[in-house]
Symmetry: C2
Subunit: 352 residues, 2 copies
Amino acid sequence: MNIRSDRDQGRKVTSAQVAERAGVSKWTVSRAFTPGASISENARQRVMEAAEALGYRPNLLARSLTTRRTQLIGVVVDQFANPHTQAMLNAATLALQQRGQLSILLNISPPVRSGELLDIAERFQVDGLLFLGTVLSEDIVRFATERQHVPLVQLFRTTEVDGVQIVAIQEHAAGAEIARLLLGEGHRRLGYLAGPDSGRSRLPRLDGYRQTLEDHGLALAATLTATDYRHALGYQAMHDYLQRTPAQQRLDALFCENDILAIGALDALHQAGLDGQLAIVGFDDIELAASPRYRLTSYQPNLDAVVDSAITHLLDRRIPGDPTLLPGRLVVRDSHRAAQSLLPQARHDKPR
Amino acid sequence: MNIRSDRDQGRKVTSAQVAERAGVSKWTVSRAFTPGASISENARQRVMEAAEALGYRPNLLARSLTTRRTQLIGVVVDQFANPHTQAMLNAATLALQQRGQLSILLNISPPVRSGELLDIAERFQVDGLLFLGTVLSEDIVRFATERQHVPLVQLFRTTEVDGVQIVAIQEHAAGAEIARLLLGEGHRRLGYLAGPDSGRSRLPRLDGYRQTLEDHGLALAATLTATDYRHALGYQAMHDYLQRTPAQQRLDALFCENDILAIGALDALHQAGLDGQLAIVGFDDIELAASPRYRLTSYQPNLDAVVDSAITHLLDRRIPGDPTLLPGRLVVRDSHRAAQSLLPQARHDKPR
DNA sequence: GGCCTGTTTGCAACCGGTTGCATATGGTCG
DNA sequence: CGACCATATGCAACCGGTTGCAAACAGGCC
């Protein structure tokens, strides 16, 4: 058990100690641990052996002090209840780790003063800040416009803010594609379920959706809202809608701003005994969307591509420019179908 | 727009620059920013003004170098697909932030070599490591037993590892309570749906469950397994079970290792047209459990209390001791009820 | 062997703070 | 008014690395 004969005497092992043991100077030790440095193979070997024997690990903080690079990226998150956040977090941290960066998780959920937190992150000398689909508050916008020396990238939101690089989905096209899908299914009264952030940014997605309807001579039939991206609020939005709207005036189909709201809405329909009576489409394609219980038609962003592009922007310290908009892909399941088409019909067999 | 007249000339602002402007030495600046330090009110004021004017923020890395405290806690996570992980992450980061600490998120999902990643975290001089319900791999155990100078705390798992402080739920009692609930409901053939980690640790929860059954002269009727804590695997486990087990031999009730598996199982029952035929109980009480569609009876850990205790252990650098086991609370909804009790019955009105 | 060139290595200085110690400053009291 | 004490501030040294520069060294070639 006592492997710690040499190492671990109170303090941590420093490069000087390794140097002494290897019979070289501490500068040579530093070079041994610096990839492209000029050092003889012989010396490197001896240093590595000594380091191994003593259990030496370079202090990355000390290194950062001179290199001015910390390899730390602040990852800013606010909607923990949304499974898509989780997927983003997973993808982002994995991608960062692969590039030798670590993520500092900054949680700006409601009680937290986001401006203060970003300030603290800056003191930790983060190399950049990555906003994972967060709602951009006043605080954040102010921070962004003031401190333009730390690169800022925002994922999956198209609110343009000075100094923030946007990497997102081609929202307009996605909205249009979903409208066409629903129209093709025969729906005519189409609505939209908006989340809390829709007010600030006139979502291109909604524009694309609405515009396509208008191209077909239709107007957006109703807009519901949820005050947070959570299951319960999707449920409630649909529940209230059903309460206040007589059956014959109801929508044919509802496009929801994301999957967790869509699933809430589906659950409300189920609860009201109206399964399949109102077509639903979501967005994000979270894992639960594929569940046989929901078979939610959704739009799948290419998460890896988005994250990859974002990280490239951060690490190359590119100057923020036009939004990078990547394509996604529609995942067609069952929830978007018209009520009658739940019965087997020939309708889908179009002439080719 | 150009607020950056003074600040921001290439390099970042240092304490020396603030000192010059305030007409004091850089040491005085340092003291101005150190809470309990000996400094006159007058000097502090001047320093603060100068700092404000220049946009100075102390470099916390440099500070950490001398103080040997980084205020960084490594938060280790592996099961991103489980909503409970998200809840833990949210609670943990918020609690840490409130205590002035920041979280470095370490993602040890399958492809990642966890030993290496922990090693890197150590080089960043994290003040401690918090394992959020992760499955303890060989790598991690080795790391834990070798490096006992960085405090390690494990949440929600009771696998005892040398040098790791455990903070979890009173699993044995919880298992027993759930068994009693199901027995009280009239169920007699009770099963357990285990997750991937059950093999390693003979879960006290399962022990408590089984033991209570035995106290009533019953044996555990079946054990199903899911190879990962994900909805699809809970679904599959139940699906396969239904396939291979004739109706008359099936379980009355199934206790699932967590909610996401339980919900998968419920969905599989629904898909098979067996809604309500098999009682289900989960664990963790995730948000979706409360959905009117599931009404999943579950066990709610006191997340805040667990996280709070864990962080206290970390920050006080306490020597790891006996596991800290906190009580949780059974959340009784509908999914645990017997099939016939879905019809209104007098059964619940026990004589008082 | 002497000279030239290219590679290694040691050194001083620095990154941006903190801390113990010594000195200066101001206020109180006899 | 001087002694005394508490409080403030400056200074040197240090935390654990990196980097430009110059000296040392080795090998190749004539």
